[in-house]
């Protein structure tokens, strides 16, 4: 007999029926008043909350994950990861070129991707995203890859290399316990990535096997844009002027149903919202940004209160997009963002995916622009 009640739950028709006077409306006659009180409360709650929380958290009110992640246990810290470049070891080759060697180990590891939420990840060198590799255009690269994981894995680099070095099944996918050495020249310069290309691809990627791979332009090869090239050349005084960061937009499907529960920039949901990234006002900012989000066709980056120049894939020394505050990237798309807060007042500037859903599920953060870094 109560079918009406259950059916009514999903059908607004009675409520919207209008014409028919309803006894129900009188029966729950306090509805309107309570609802108005409710909305009065929300305004009050905002102010009350703002007073008790640090200012960078009041910006998004109560809409944030609860608690904090144990970065020690994870073995990687999202803030340190921003500038933690892995430059490998460099030796000279007989022909005068440089040989840069990286050592990468694949391993299974349970990581905390949001406060209190553990994820059974597959990692490169125990972190997600994997180490941020950085090399210089024209060098010979040698990547010694060991698989200590429980499944076959590989490293597939986005770059120019031979078929034998492609890291696909039959060419560099190795069984657990095996080792493989990838070797190729560092080119073209730009902001690239690497990821596991063992099958099934989606599972291997979304379990955490990816990383950023930056090749700096060699200033000597770009006389027309030598200054720009120098500023991107890691270790140069010109480069030291910039505040560079490596950001990988990723997501985690903790229920393995093909839909992500958590979105983030550098793995930990809301990490830069809870611990804003310090930025010195006077120095320009350069972000190496990669999208490796699985299951969603695109991801995006939106900067608050500012505009930036964008170098799609980073393979040019002049911007491919000028003066934008939003860029879109499909999976494996990446690029370089350059901007400055020189003319701004100090304060908290938000950045996030402009898919509101991604932002609200963890992919949002803040720049804390300060006069000088202490």
């Amino acid at each position: 007999m109560l079918r009406w009640a259950q059916a009514a739950l999903s059908r607004r028709s009675l409520l919207l029926g209008g014409g028919a006077a309803t006894i129900g409306a009188t029966a729950i006659c306090s509805t309107t008043t309570v609802a108005q009180e409710t909305h009065g409360y929300h305004a009050a709650a905002g102010t009350k909350g703002a007073a008790s929380r640090p200012s960078h958290q009041s910006a998004h009110g109560a809409m944030i994950t609860v608690g904090s992640v144990d970065n020690e246990r994870n073995g990687f810290h999202p803030t340190k990861m921003l500038t933690d470049w892995y430059i490998g070891t460099v030796t000279d080759l007989p022909d005068g070129r440089k040989l840069r060697t990286f050592e990468i180990t694949a391993e299974d590891k349970e990581i905390e991707i949001a406060p209190g939420v553990m994820f059974p990840a597959w990692t490169y060198n125990g972190r997600v995203p994997g180490p941020a590799l950085r090399a210089t255009e024209g060098e010979r690269l040698r990547i010694v890859f060991r698989n200590n994981g429980s499944h076959p894995h590989s490293m597939h680099f986005h770059g120019i290399h031979s078929a034998r070095m492609d890291g696909v099944p039959g060419a560099g996918v190795i069984a657990p316990g095996d080792e493989f050495v990838y070797e190729f020249d560092a080119r073209p310069f730009g902001c690239h990535l690497y990821h596991c290309h063992a099958l099934p691809l989606a599972r291997h990627i979304h379990k955490g096997m990816y990383g950023i791979f930056v090749i700096d332009p060699d200033p000597a090869r770009h006389p027309d844009y030598a200054e720009v090239a120098k500023s991107r050349f890691y270790g140069s005084p010109e480069n030291a002027e910039w505040q560079e960061m490596a950001m990988v937009m990723n997501a985690f499907d903790t229920t393995f149903d093909g839909e992500n529960e958590f979105y983030a920039c550098n793995t930990i949901a809301h990490c830069y919202a809870k611990e804003p990234i310090k930025v010195e006002k006077g120095r320009p900012v350069r972000i190496y940004l990669v999208n490796i989000t699985e299951f969603d066709p695109i991801n995006s980056f939106h900067l608050h209160g500012n505009f930036f120049d964008y170098f799609d894939q980073g393979t040019t020394l002049t911007p491919t997009l000028r003066t934008v505050d939003l860029i879109m990237q499909c999976q494996a798309q990446r690029g370089i963002l350059e901007f400055t807060y020189k003319e701004h007042e100090a304060g908290l500037y938000m950045f996030h995916a402009h898919q509101s859903e991604f932002a609200e599920l963890g992919w949002m953060g803040m720049f804390d622009v300060v006069e000088t870094l202490s």
Binding site: A35, V66, V117, A269
Partner: protein, 401 residues
């Protein structure tokens, strides 16, 4: 050879039988020893295949108020569970859990989310556990959970009166007209009561099982509902037959009690529907309910046609049968857990089954003291049952959506 096994002499005296109880220590020792062994040596380790623990969360109550959302959550996993994060409409929200920490199997906690819900719209709450498993809870239509206030109690009582008390009163008002009924009419009316009660039995049990299916797995919903109904039936039969099969006013009282318990469960469910955000109750729907329940009053009147009850009896019967609807709506609107509603409905189903048995017996006995079930197949009785079922079925169409 022809020894009756029942007539074996007792194997021991009363004193010795106490000593027998000492043997209970033996199974107890074996039980304790095996538990200790299991805990100490963990011989079932081999079954641990690395699979994550089975997790289960049931959301039993949802309260929407000016502070946001509050939910009573019961854990039912193979191990204690942790709620790590909470989403509302695919966004993570801060929440507080009372009491905090891991939730043991079968325990409940209150989760409060300061979420600015929107009146009349739908929201989805997702609980994310520490293993990353998710549990969704739909709030189909967000309305403030009714609170205990004079105003609300009065309007809910009004609704309950329309659904429960008024139809019974109207039915009982037919009493004077029915008094002159002849034997066949009597049989017809009693049989009609059986028919309408049969309809209510099926309907009530159906609802009890539906609510039972929404309750936490630990309660084993359908088993709980059926056993409750059977127990309620047996207890009421036992009480009712202390002095032989009930007739007259006693039977009328049992019918009123059965219908009252049914109306209580129905009231709980109506209240729960309000709490969960059921839209409006149309006037048409309420009138449909009234019409649908009028036969209940006639059913109560049938066994007392041949005696002369006092007016106070009629008032009492009306309140007994209809009043619980008001009580049910009051309680149900406070958003009680579904297993309570299931139990209330199951008790009602048992009570209805009891009166079906008793009224059937009365039909079989009418006019003569000897019970003759063949009478139930007489044209009058058969027609009555069919009429009762048909009337209930057809009027139920008024309230089906």
């Amino acid at each position: 050879m022809n020894e009756n096994p029942r007539s074996f002499p007792p194997v021991s005296t009363a004193a010795a039988s106490h000593r027998h109880l000492l043997w209970l220590v033996l199974p107890l020792i074996v039980l304790v020893a095996s538990v200790l062994w299991l805990l100490q040596t963990d011989p079932l380790r081999g079954f641990n295949n690395g699979a994550p623990p089975v997790e289960n969360l049931t959301i039993e109550r949802t309260v929407l108020d000016e502070g946001g959302l509050r939910m009573l959550v019961r854990a039912g996993g193979s191990e204690p569970m942790t709620i790590a994060q909470v989403q509302v409409d695919a966004a993570y929200w801060q929440f507080t859990q009372e009491p905090a920490g891991t939730i043991s199997r079968g325990d409940t906690v209150w989760v409060a989310i300061p979420f600015p819900w929107v009146l009349g719209e739908a929201h989805k709450v997702t609980f994310v556990t520490n293993t990353g498993a998710t549990f969704d809870h739909e709030i189909p239509v967000a309305v403030p959970t009714p609170k205990v206030s004079g105003n609300a109690l009065v309007s809910q009582a009004l609704l309950g009166s329309f659904v429960g008390i008024l139809p019974v009163a109207i039915g009982l008002l037919c009493y004077p007209a029915l008094r002159g009924a002849g034997r066949n009419t009597m049989t017809f009316l009693l049989a009609m009561t059986v028919g309408l009660l049969a309809f209510l039995l099926v309907d009530t049990m159906n609802e009890a099982l539906e609510f039972a299916s929404q309750s936490a797995a630990i309660f084993q919903g359908s088993v709980m509902a059926i056993l409750t109904a059977v127990a309620s039936f047996l207890i009421l039969v036992a009480i009712g037959r202390r002095h032989g099969s009930p007739t007259g006013l006693a039977l009328a009282t049992y019918i009123a009690l059965g219908i009252g318990l049914h109306n209580f469960g129905e009231g709980l469910a109506i209240g729960a529907a309000f709490a969960a955000g059921a839209a409006g109750l149309g006037t048409f729907l309420v009138l449909g309910f009234t019409l649908h329940n009028i036969t209940e009053g006639i059913g109560i009147a049938a066994p007392i046609l041949k005696i002369r009850p006092k007016l106070v009896h009629f008032v009492g019967l009306t309140l007994l049968a209809g009043g619980p609807a008001v009580l049910g709506i009051w309680l149900g609107s406070l958003a009680f857990a579904p297993h309570w509603t299931a139990i209330a409905l199951a008790i009602g189903a048992g009570a209805i089954a009891q009166v079906i048995v008793e009224v059937t017996a009365l039909v079989g006995r009418s006019e003569s003291a000897r019970l003759d079930y063949a009478r139930i197949l007489s044209p009058a009785a058969f027609g009555g049952i069919a009429a009762g079922l048909a009337f209930m079925y057809v009027t139920a169409m008024l309230v089906k959506i």
